[in-house]
């Protein structure tokens, strides 16, 4: 079966530009998570969706970051006015449902480079 997929795998953009990163979760998974992994560090939580709604967005660093999941499946992470400090690997994960008993399955990530 297909796992979590993320597109693009790599994205290079210029400072100040807008970018969108896409995540396709495992079919039937209602919970979806975004994490950011800076070079040489562990992933950091950004946002968690249960269905279409953002159940926890406490990890979003500022209002330049926004994520949507309009139909409860595919999610898009949007970054406005990108800065060099936004360069990182953005990981998406999905699980059957939220909560500790449901394993989070991760995608391969999108490597974002802001020049």
């Amino acid at each position: 079966g297909a796992g979590v997929s993320q597109t693009p795998s790599n994205k290079v953009t210029e400072k100040g530009k807008y970018v969108e990163l896409r995540c396709d979760p495992i079919s039937g998974h209602t919970a979806l998570y975004w994490y950011r992994q800076s070079l040489g560090q562990g992933p950091e939580f950004l946002i968690y969706f249960q269905g279409t709604g953002a159940a926890d967005d406490s990890g979003l660093p500022n209002d330049r970051f926004f994520a949507v999941r309009p139909e409860g499946s595919v999610s898009t992470l949007k970054i406005q006015r990108t800065e060099r400090g936004d360069s990182a690997v953005y990981l998406c994960a999905s699980s059957l449902a939220g909560g500790v008993f449901n394993e989070q399955f991760f995608g391969p990530g999108t490597r974002l480079t802001v020049l």
Partner: protein, 114 residues
Amino acid sequence: AQTVTQSQPEMSVQEAETVTLSCTYDTSESNYYLFWYKQPPSRQMILVIRQEAYKQQNATENRFSVNFQKAAKSFSLKISDSQLGDTAMYFCAFMGNAGNMLTFGGGTRLMVKP
């Protein structure tokens, strides 16, 4: 807030030998869950093993086992009979009882040498 610390940035082990990766954490919660994830160069995080804090018995998955010391807030991973395919970054992670987010440590890069 929870914190997870991995004090070993890099480790190496000879193939077929045993290696232990260290992890400590800090939390005020009484019940929580701990995980070890493997991240190979493909970047895809793979769950290796998990431990529920309320369980005294240490979790085991084939060649992987943990040493969970709740009072010391320590959660180490032991890899027995190391294989070349074990070469990867290893991350320790924490999840609170009511939460959905994982809090990760900084990782340990493990190299298995032939």
